[in-house]
């Protein structure tokens, strides 16, 4: 659970990111704000194209510019606006204090270099260790992520590892500089469930051991349920709901969140449960939304939803969601206070 008064590590404030493409502008991120507290695991959930990866790649300034462009907003890491740092300064943060892991380890590991070289490179860049110390450190880190015989495997090439082991190597690489924030972008999506369980176990353990903050980006609600204390749900480049994990699953407030939960089969479903797909498709983000982007697919949408943009605002009980309406057990509650407290 996110403790009250915990120190924020990362604060995003009204972030807007857009891309210039041949087909015109794409508004990928349209005013995203969230906070990651110390030692906390935040889940960022959404479907492909909802802006969850772009948002978090922008944190480390990994968005190619051009075509990408941060049109406004701030990203504060412990009081420093990362967007104002020079290229040299951001390199100190990237892979140092803030590390990132990706879905496919092969896009992150260099197939031509032994992993010893790749692991020590990061350590040497971010510390004063000698090459020998760095190698020792790398072996410790491989051991911690559960690679058997780390001293014997450290001089292997990436292709000599299986998918799950490669993912562990990437986690070791991310953690060998002692980051205080790890951004994990779909870290287990390409893996089998048994391997996924192993990798999530490693992440859970390391997060507890190191007291590190974690941002877990995923489309898989089940993964979030087991890993995170707080969840942000994104749709069309905006946050539509933010809630502590128990509240989100027990009482989703935004129709998109409810729809997402209703569309996935669960292993513990009662038999005969009907799946409710979300009809239609997510919008193309050619324009910055001026009305609710989910309205065309939303069973509860009214005229107002197609005219106005619902802000992400708290309910009477402090729960944040971006919908004009309140729901109880899937039924729309009578209109009382304009939808927002």
């Amino acid at each position: 659970m996110s403790e009250q008064g915990a120190q924020p590590v990362l604060e995003l404030d009204d972030l807007h990111v857009r891309f210039k493409t041949d087909g015109g502008l794409v508004h990928a991120v349209n005013g995203v704000s969230y906070v990651v507290n110390e030692g906390e695991a935040l889940g960022v959930v959404g479907e492909s194209g909802c802006g969850k990866s772009v948002t978090n790649m922008t944190v480390l300034r990994l968005i190619p510019t051009p075509p990408g462009e941060v049109s406004s907003g701030r990203i504060n890491y412990r009081g420093t606006n990362l967007l104002e740092l020079s290229a040299k300064e951001i390199r100190k943060v990237r892979g140092g204090k803030i590390a990132m892991i990706f879905q496919d380890p092969m896009t992150c590991l260099n197939p031509f270099l032994r992993i010893s070289k790749q692991l020590t490179e990061a350590i040497l860049l971010h510390s004063d260790m000698t090459p020998e110390q760095a190698r020792q450190r790398a072996i410790e880190e491989l051991d911690r992520v559960g690679i058997p015989d780390p001293a014997g495997r450290i001089d292997s090439y990436p292709h000599e590892f299986s998918g799950g082991m490669r993912q562990r190597v990437m986690i070791a690489m991310a953690l060998c500089t002692d980051p205080d924030l790890l951004i994990a972008d779909e870290p287990t999506t390409a893996l089998d469930v048994t391997i996924q369980a192993q990798i999530l176990d490693v992440l859970r353990r390391l997060q507890a051991e190191k007291g590190m903050s974690l941002v877990l980006i995923t489309h898989d609600l089940a993964v979030v349920a087991g890993m995170c204390s707080r969840v942000v749900v994104m749709y069309a480049g905006r946050i539509v709901e933010e809630a502590p994990v128990d509240d989100l699953f027990a009482d989703p407030r935004h129709p998109y969140t409810s729809a997402l939960l209703a569309s996935v089969p669960r292993l513990d479903d009662p038999l005969g449960r009907h799946l409710n797909p979300i009809e239609g498709l997510p919008p193309k983000l050619a324009e910055e939304p001026t009305s609710c982007a989910f309205a065309p697919r939303c069973p509860h949408a009214e005229d107002r939803c197609r005219r106005e943009l619902p802000p992400l605002a708290p309910d009477a009980d402090g729960r944040l969601h971006a919908c004009f309406f309140r729901f109880k057990d899937g039924e729309k509650l009578p209109h009382t206070d304009g939808g927002q407290a």
């Binding site: 609600l221 089940a222 349920a225 569309s263 996935v264 089969p265 005969g272 449960r273």
Partner: protein
């Protein structure tokens, strides 16, 4: 499009045809791929045993789910059954004939009844063909395409069946979303009015909100047309949702097969337990409480021939109960449980856990 509340739910525990004769019988299917070495004089140095003695049957109107980790041979089983790879040995009995013995025109004739839907709707449709020509291809192949106008009618009807707007008949695959492309693939498979459709990971490439559309479509079509499915997926929750029976594969063999309810309710094989236990559930309260059985190690290589149980090296149960090393010396056969002949398990010690 399937509406949000059109009344069909998960399949009932048993299809109506439970007691009918099997439509398709696969017996001791082996699919080995030789590995060659040498450039001029090639010699076989080893074999990848992708499918290593798989047997199952499929009744009309039934869905058999095939699950397992990547590399366990579930897709190869489907392909070898359809003779897309010629199996090394074994029998595939359909309509009183063994497909493995058929060639050329005879095989083509039987294949009309056995169709396939593929995982990647971006790769399985030719980008230079219109929807009309994609759906009409099987009809043309079998000389069933009628004259221009009638064919168009036929295609429009198929498009309606799978929830596509028939006015898109002249469009190309790139003009459709992933879910719609998968519908085109389904329409193509339905064109010849098959009895069995092999669905190889048909929803894995789709976004979660769209997955449910295709899952519901497949269920609707089954009810309407009495199709039998072999449904392959690594998403175990989806398989549970769709299947009447489920087979769990490990390293080219079925380790457990049973009715959907027993396989999830009374899991017997230690590997099945580990696999099902690893599936996360979208409920934080359950996730916090549950005990995780983490499988150690990785899949052994399918190239090595083993005497005992393939799972023995990773099996927690073996460590506890196998004092005389039976698991490493004697291969467990897939045998029915004493109390339930439809539930089969390949483990010496399945009753000791």
């Amino acid at each position: 499009m399937s509406g949000p509340n059109n009344g069909h739910g998960a399949p009932s525990a048993t299809p109506a045809s439970e007691h009918s004769e099997p439509l398709l019988e696969v017996k001791d299917l082996h699919m080995h791929f030789p590995v060659y070495e040498g450039i001029v004089f090639q010699r076989e140095v080893s074999r990848i045993r992708a499918v290593n003695g798989v047997s199952f049957d499929l009744r009309p109107g039934e869905t058999l789910g095939l699950v397992g980790e990547s590399g366990c041979g579930k897709s190869t089983t489907a392909r070898a059954t359809l003779q897309l790879h010629k199996p090394t040995s074994g029998q595939v009995l359909f309509d009183g004939r063994d497909l493995c013995q058929l060639h050329g025109a005879e095989l083509r004739a039987v294949r009309r009844d056995l169709q396939m839907i593929f995982q990647d709707p971006y790769a399985s449709l030719d980008p230079r063909w219109t929807v009309a020509s994609i759906i009409a291809e099987p009809l043309r192949n079998y000389g069933l395409a009628r004259s221009g106008h009638e064919l168009r009618e036929q295609i429009s009807e198929l498009m309606l069946t799978v929830g596509l707007n028939p006015s898109f008949i002249g469009r190309y695959p790139h003009e459709f979303s992933g879910g719609q492309r998968q519908r085109i693939g389904v329409a193509r498979a339905l064109a010849l009015e098959p009895k069995v459709i092999f669905c190889d990971e048909p929803v894995s490439a789709l976004d979660v909100s769209v997955q449910a559309q295709i899952v519901n479509l497949l269920q609707e079509l089954q009810e309407r047309l009495g199709l039998a499915y072999v449904f392959i997926a690594h998403d175990i929750a989806v398989v549970r949702h769709l299947s009447h029976r489920v087979a769990i594969m490990y390293l080219g063999r079925i380790v457990e097969i049973a009715d959907r309810d027993s396989i999830y309710g009374e899991t017997r094989h230690p590997y099945s337990k580990a696999l099902l236990g690893a599936v996360p559930i979208p409920d934080p309260k359950i996730e916090r409480k549950r005990e995780r059985i983490l499988l150690e190690g990785n899949l052994p290589s399918p190239g090595d021939a083993r005497e005992g149980c393939d799972f023995a090296s990773r099996c927690a149960l073996r460590k506890r109960v196998d004092s005389d090393d039976r698991c490493h010396t004697e291969r467990p056969q897939l045998l029915p449980l004493a109390g339930d002949p439809t539930h089969k398990v390949a483990c010496h010690y399945h009753d000791q856990d």
